[in-house]
């Protein structure tokens, strides 16, 4: 009887060892399946990712609290120490802005009159949602931010501004948080235009600090220093939003330096451009046509 029990115990331990090995293989397989499904943009993977994101992000929100207090104290001391020079700079800036404001008013009236003459239909107006940066991906292969959006109706695909210039787009939304893919990320593709020559292209991230413009005409007139703005092609984003300046043009490679300091952005604005900021809806509309 004792021998039988002993043999049974050995068999059980062998079975448990085999099961454990099968589980390990299954976990590796699962990782491979996720990778393959990501390649084909399977919605299941997106849903799993969103689910984990939604559950885990509140932990960061709690952990971030002490860091936020320290940062606020530092900012307060810094601001107080620079109050005099900041005041002088703001006075000068205000003087220039007043001058520009009058010019803009005149141009706006002129633009309206010309628009009426041409029967021009203006694009839909955008609303802005403010959001606070809570986390960064901190990875060489991923340039993303996690932002707190509260109950604002943020959708995937909406463009994100930092310091009044484009810094990325919303990739996923989970509860009160959203993930933003920065323009420097390899997955970021934004249709842009060179403001001076209206040469079109796609601003493509490459996981470095300097994204590049691709798919331009071979002899497009692009020079270092040119302002790059969104083209609005595809209707997903408003046109004319500044993105950056061309930093160099070498051997067909057009490097762009972003206007916003992406590494230091704390608050950002999400552009709600009506229903057309939703890529799924856009694709559906195109399919219907």
């Amino acid at each position: 009887m004792k021998q039988q029990n002993f043999l049974l115990l050995i068999k059980f331990s062998e079975l448990s060892s085999v099961l454990r090995k099968i589980c390990i293989v299954l976990l590796f397989l699962c990782a491979f399946v996720f990778l393959l499904m990501s390649k084909f943009s399977a919605p299941t993977v997106q849903k799993i990712s969103e689910g984990v994101f939604e559950i885990s992000t509140p932990i960061i929100h709690v952990l971030e609290f002490p860091a936020r207090i320290i940062h606020r104290a530092y900012t307060y001391i810094y601001d107080v120490s620079h109050i005099f020079s900041d005041n002088q700079m703001l006075r000068e800036e205000n003087r220039q802005m007043m001058f520009l404001q009058n010019r803009v008013r005149a141009l706006e009236v002129e633009n309206q009159l010309l628009g009426r003459l041409l029967n021009y239909v203006p694009p839909s107006k955008a609303n802005y949602i403010s959001a606070k940066v809570m986390a960064t991906s901190g990875d060489v292969y991923a340039h993303t931010l996690v932002v707190y959006i509260g109950n604002s109706p943020v959708k995937k695909g909406q463009i994100v501004l930092g310091n009044e210039s484009v810094i990325g787009r919303v990739e996923k939304v989970g509860g009160k948080y959203a993930q933003v893919i920065l323009v420097t990320d390899i997955n970021s593709k934004i249709p842009v235009v060179i403001e001076r020559t209206r040469a079109r292209g796609i601003l493509s991230g490459n996981n470095t600090d300097i994204p590049q413009i691709v798919f331009t005409r071979p002899k497009a007139d692009i020079q270092a220093g040119d302002l790059v703005v969104t083209s609005g092609v595809g209707g997903m984003f408003p046109s004319g939003l500044p993105v950056g300046f061309v930093s160099s043009v070498k051997n067909g490679k057009i490097d762009v330096e972003t206007i916003a300091d992406i590494d230091r952005v704390e608050y950002l604005k999400i552009v709600d451009y009506g229903d057309y900021s939703n890529p799924d809806l856009l694709m559906k509309d195109e399919g219907d046509e």
Partner: protein, 174 residues
């Protein structure tokens, strides 16, 4: 009643390596407003997985690595499954190496971590190059690898404190 409480206590204690790793990963997600933070931020998940697999492998296995990878992937724009695969490979590698080599000194542990990290970084580079069908710049990867190696003593010290404080008594394997 006390039996249930004792079992619950053991269960919670067994989850300390996973919870500590998760919290540490999350802390490193907090933005520091530092230039080029993407390159200067260490691969904390790998550091945690290495420490616990090397020092408390009975409490930190493949499933814990899988969950940490899942969280890490959900914050990243890299394809889902990348970090899961990297962390699982790290556990496999460390357990395999441990069968032949058991580092006794801190320096030995650090060197072994550098070796494991090198393999994981090369693997990640190759897999993502195949996925995106393009080669990435090597320099940011080398910089990030170096930062991860430099951070080993700090992470190991934190984990060692947690281990000494909460995991000194014998805990049954679950």
């Amino acid at each position: 009643m006390s039996d249930v409480f004792a079992k619950l206590q053991v269960f919670l204690k067994n989850r300390i390596p996973f919870v500590a790793s998760l919290l540490l990963i999350m802390i490193f997600y907090i933005p520091l407003n530092v230039d080029s933070y993407h390159y200067l931020s260490p691969y904390v998940a790998l550091l945690c997985v290495y420490y616990w697999t090397a020092h408390k492998s009975e409490l930190f296995g493949y499933f814990s690595a899988f969950l940490l990878g899942l969280v890490s992937d959900s914050y990243s724009s890299a394809p889902m499954g990348t970090d899961i695969l990297m962390l699982l490979t790290a556990v496999l590698l460390i357990r395999f190496i441990k069968m032949y080599v058991q580092p006794t000194s801190f320096w030995g542990g650090w060197l072994l971590f550098a070796f494991v990290a090198l393999i994981v970084y090369v693997l990640k580079f190759v897999i993502l190059a195949l996925y995106y069908e393009r080669l990435f710049s090597l320099l940011p990867n080398i910089a990030n690898f170096a930062v991860t190696i430099i951070f080993y003593p700090m992470i190991a010290y934190i984990m060692m404190q947690i281990q000494d404080k909460f995991l000194t008594s014998e805990i049954s394997d679950e």
